[in-house]
Amino acid sequence: MESKKGHSKPGEFKPIDLLACAAAREVKDGEIVFAGTGLPMLAIMVAQHTQAPTAVCIYESGSIDGRPIDLPTSVADARCSYQAAVGDGLTDVFGQLQSGKVDLAYLGGAEVDLYGNVNCTFMGGPTGKRLTGSGGNSDIHSLAKRSVLIMPQFGQKRRFVERVSYITSPGWKIPHWPDKEWVPKQEVYGSAFNGGPAAVISDMGVYRFDAKGEMYLDTVHPGFTPEECRENCSFDLNNF
């Protein structure tokens, strides 16, 4: 599978390119998009240069609707703020997020589960391997109308699990504290419910969520089969 790594030549594409393009397609023109660092940032920039030229990108550092001419290294990079409409701070953008103004959020994560819960804090729970922690991942998943998770999958089966070992960000079914009962997100968020995970886009395919809030394989990228997708998933992808 070495040919699936590295940079593509003109006229060719690699799974990572497909991943970015598939992710970019989730954006509708004019939408307000909240993007995280890395591949999400690339995807929204692809979208703005293709079918969604008036999509507005908000970064959690406080930069709003930048028109970068160079690829930023992180959400606080000055490259994000080039020709931005507003450059303020966290109180501004998280307030807008919470007030329901964000149509779509693009995020990454270390682990995702059947319900779209995301883990980027501990692999294996609080006694396991420590990662960065939430940053805005949790806030954005909690409060955006739709969220799209971009995840590498090929050869990384442990990233697609039945239950994440630590819930950093909420999917469609979550525990209600303190009683720990697992209930639909709507029940926990009540009037503050804006939506939830719309898709998980991997280097192998695009996954969506059914009416029960459970993940299914929607489309398979060229070069992969549904069986390969199933093999690279730790839970039983039985809905396709």
Partner: protein, 324 residues
């Protein structure tokens, strides 16, 4: 209230006591008061309680040096230059540090509440997530919510069925650090603070803190900053100490002035996967130099110049993502 004093970094950092609660201006690997971080380590501060909107290279460094007793934040990493804070990760995994995880809005709200004299602020963020799992109230489990520490409240958070729309909402308690250290582009001789570029959560963390140290690339005449009051963030009456220290944010980035030193941070990340690695790194870059000026000399003018921002862009036009 006296006007702020312009002092040396050694003197300013010398005011901070073991056990104090600290926060910092900036965001991940941007505009962090690194000169002060090195000095805190040199002065061997112990048992600091960090409460940060988000962490980065700076707090992972303090943790590696054994300065930190309690870490509370939403994140610790090095952005593109290192996947996570390896000192913090190692100490958490080994149970060598107390920590509380928060969502970004939670911890922002805690400091914002502190800045406004409020006991709490509400948010809908991260309901149903493990930061709010009662089993993950680590300070509570450690018996520290008994009122003995003025910086640790009796509750990590509270759920509240509010009476206006009957929704359940998360209330997070105010945080008021003893100190906030912020690196900025300019400060006036009487302490007026100007931040260029994104403000992140500086205004909130500065106002939440009992004492403030402002480290500036340049101290400028007050009158110059006061020509445009709307571009300034903070009046001098909130500032205790001013330190002038060019390049004081290195290796983190400073909008309009210089890029993060990605190679430096990346090397730090790689070196600090073990405690021995951190100790060697610290020996070279912190204890092995007399002060921050010697650190800059060790880095050398060529390296520093290569990080400089292009004034038309606010960033370097020669440095590309992923390139070194």
């Amino acid at each position: 209230m006296a006007r702020p004093k312009i002092v040396s970094l050694t003197e300013a950092v010398g005011q901070i006591k073991d056990g104090d609660m600290l926060t910092f201006g900036g965001f991940t690997v941007w505009r962090r008061p690194m000169a002060a971080i090195y000095e805190l380590i040199r002065q061997k501060k112990r048992n600091l309680h960090l409460v940060e909107v988000n962490g980065g290279t700076h707090d992972d460094m303090l943790v590696g040096a054994g300065c930190v007793g309690i870490w509370e934040s939403s994140w610790c990493g090095h952005e593109l230059y290192g996947k996570f804070g390896s000192n913090l990760a190692r100490k958490i995994e080994k149970g060598e540090i107390l920590y509380e995880d928060w969502a970004h809005i939670h911890i922002l709200n805690r400091l914002t509440a502190g800045s406004k004299g409020l006991p709490f602020l509400p948010t809908y963020s991260a309901m149903g997530c493990d930061m709010l799992n009662p089993e993950n109230d680590n300070l509570g489990k450690a018996g520290l919510r008994d009122g003995s520490n003025p910086h640790i409240g009796k509750l990590k958070y509270a759920m509240y069925q509010e009476p206006f729309t009957n929704s359940e909402i998360v209330l997070v308690p105010a945080a008021n650090p003893d100190w906030c250290i912020t690196h900025v582009q300019m400060v006036g001789a009487e302490g007026t603070v100007r931040v260029d570029g994104l403000k992140f959560s500086d205004q909130e963390v500065i106002k939440a803190s009992k004492h403030n140290i402002i480290i500036a690339e340049q101290v400028v005449p007050e009158e110059y900053l006061r020509r445009e009051p709307t571009r300034n963030m903070i009046g001098g009456y909130l500032v205790d100490y001013i330190v002038e220290q060019p390049w004081g944010a290195h290796p983190t980035g400073l909008y309009g002035v210089h890029e993060p030193d990605g190679e430096f941070i990346s090397n730090f990340f790689k070196a600090t996967r073990t405690q021995e690695g951190f100790d060697q790194w610290a020996e070279e870059w912190i204890f092995g130099v007399k002060d921050f000026q010697e650190y800059l000399s060790k880095l050398g003018i060529t390296r520093l110049e290569s990080l400089k921002a292009n004034p038309a862009l606010g960033y370097s036009s020669t440095m590309k993502r992923g390139s070194r």
